[in-house]
């Protein structure tokens, strides 16, 4: 061990803070200059920590399950009334759906329709919140042998949740639809008008750039659009909600604040923004 004289050691201690602050600026520049290196470092760290998170996740989800159970017991009466009413309504829809399905099958037989292949998917557990203060992302533990790749689409059991942006050897990061960098081409089902769903870090992303002459209606269903080649058409996203201030938002079907597992779909689509565009947000004008 090197023995330093006391004044020298004091001088070094006093110097270390300015030097490290300068190094922090250096790291900022490095982060702007070499996004790939930073991404690799992030995923290496996430890979190393994901077993720990997966272990910690067990008791956390047990506690969360217990809390949900208690809430469910507490609200059972109101829930029951709501479900009875909803069941009534759905029964009517079921009749309609069955009739439409039969009609659809009949029409397809006459058209020599080539059915879409059922998409491959795999399910992965959400183990960590990978967003931080100004981003919305989650980390999935995918296990050592996986075929997850960038651009795959993540859905929870209700609807669209986000997209895989970074992949490590045993974990993957999913940028959620609510993140400020998220831009998703969508279709309004009522009017078939296309629009862009823009994340703003709040629970409800904004709807922007719909064509002139079309006004999104409250309660209109929003589904993905195949416009940019990044998504298949027709994945359920949410419903249109007007705010009191007159902005149009999308209430997502997916419960992004309590994600447990996500399904990663491989639609084989490649029309995706390069990963740098996700890691480094560019100022975007109107497209």
């Amino acid at each position: 061990m090197i023995r330093l004289s006391i004044p020298l050691r004091q001088a070094l201690a006093r110097l270390s803070l300015p030097v490290l602050i300068a190094a922090a600026f250096g790291i900022m520049l490095l982060g702007k200059a070499d996004a790939v290196l930073i991404e690799r470092a992030r995923m290496a760290l996430a890979d190393a920590l994901s077993p720990i998170w997966a272990a910690v996740q067990e008791p956390v989800s047990a506690v969360r399950g217990a809390v949900q159970e208690a809430e469910a017991l507490w609200n059972m009466r109101a829930e029951n009334a709501r479900l009875t009413e909803e069941n009534e309504r759905l029964r009517r829809w079921q009749a309609t759906a069955l009739a439409l399905e039969a009609e659809n099958a009949l029409l397809r037989r006459q058209l020599a329709w080539v059915p879409d292949p059922a998409p491959q998917f795999r399910t992965a557990r959400v183990v960590a919140d990978a967003g931080g203060t100004y981003a919305r992302a989650v980390l999935l533990a995918t296990g050592p042998q996986h075929n997850v790749r960038k651009g795959q689409i993540a859905l929870d059991e209700r609807g669209f949740a986000g997209r895989v942006t970074e992949v490590g050897s045993r974990s993957a990061r999913v940028l959620l639809a609510t993140d400020i960098n998220s831009r998703v081409p969508v279709t309004l089902e009522g009017s078939r008008a296309r629009a862009i769903m823009v994340g703003n870090n709040t629970a409800r992303p904004r709807l922007q750039h719909w064509p002139e002459g079309v006004i999104p209606r409250e309660g209109d269903r929003v589904v993905t659009s195949a416009q940019a080649g990044a998504f298949p058409a027709g994945l359920p996203v949410g419903v249109v909600r007007w705010t009191e201030s007159g902005a149009v938002e999308v209430e997502l079907f997916a419960h992004l604040e309590r994600l447990d597992v996500l399904r990663l779909f491989d639609f084989g689509l490649s029309g995706i923004l390069p990963p740098e565009a996700v890691a480094r947000p560019e100022p975007r004008g109107r497209r």
Partner: protein, 169 residues
């Protein structure tokens, strides 16, 4: 000095940094509240810089900031710079702060956390070249301010235990 005693001293010296790193890692477990990762490090660094600065030197703060930045999606370097500046300012005012009551320290911490969050927001705006929303920053400030009493209670217990162990040597 015996090996065991040296190990003991090393454990005491390494504890503040390791404990903070562990908290940062555990804070990433999703519990439905975003922004905890950026909030847990502030109280720990503030506390240890005042009461045990030898165990929380600038390189350790740097490493903790880097860990925090790599775990979150934030622009790299923002957490490092914010935590280093918090550490530097706290160290400068250490002689005054160490003699204050808990409540006064909490108020000072709230002020520091406000500055840290404002600096983080500014860096995020400059590096991302767009204005991030204010709400997550305020959220982070609230979590940090609310965590301080709980963390300081636990940490001061640990600190007195360590002092007792050192006095017994």
């Amino acid at each position: 000095m015996g090996l065991l005693r040296r190990l003991d001293a090393a454990a005491r010296a390494g504890f503040p940094g390791m404990f903070t790193a562990l908290l940062i890692i555990l804070a990433a477990v999703p519990v439905g509240i975003p922004g905890i990762v950026g909030a847990v490090s502030l109280p720990c660094i503030f506390f240890w810089t005042i009461f045990r600065p030898a165990a929380m030197p600038a390189p350790v703060v740097f490493a903790l900031g880097l860990l925090q930045d790599l775990l979150s999606f934030a622009a790299l370097g923002t957490g490092v710079l914010t935590l280093l500046i918090l550490h530097g300012v706290t160290l400068r005012l250490r002689d005054v702060l160490a003699r204050q009551s808990f409540l006064a320290n909490w108020l000072v911490f709230c002020g520091f956390a406000l500055c840290a969050v404002a600096l983080g927001w500014l860096l995020q705006a400059v590096l991302g070249w767009m204005l991030p929303p204010l709400a997550p920053g305020l959220h982070q400030l609230g979590i940090a301010a609310g965590l301080y009493p709980a963390l300081a209670w636990v940490l001061s217990r640990l600190h007195t235990a360590m002092q007792r162990a050192e006095a017994a040597l």
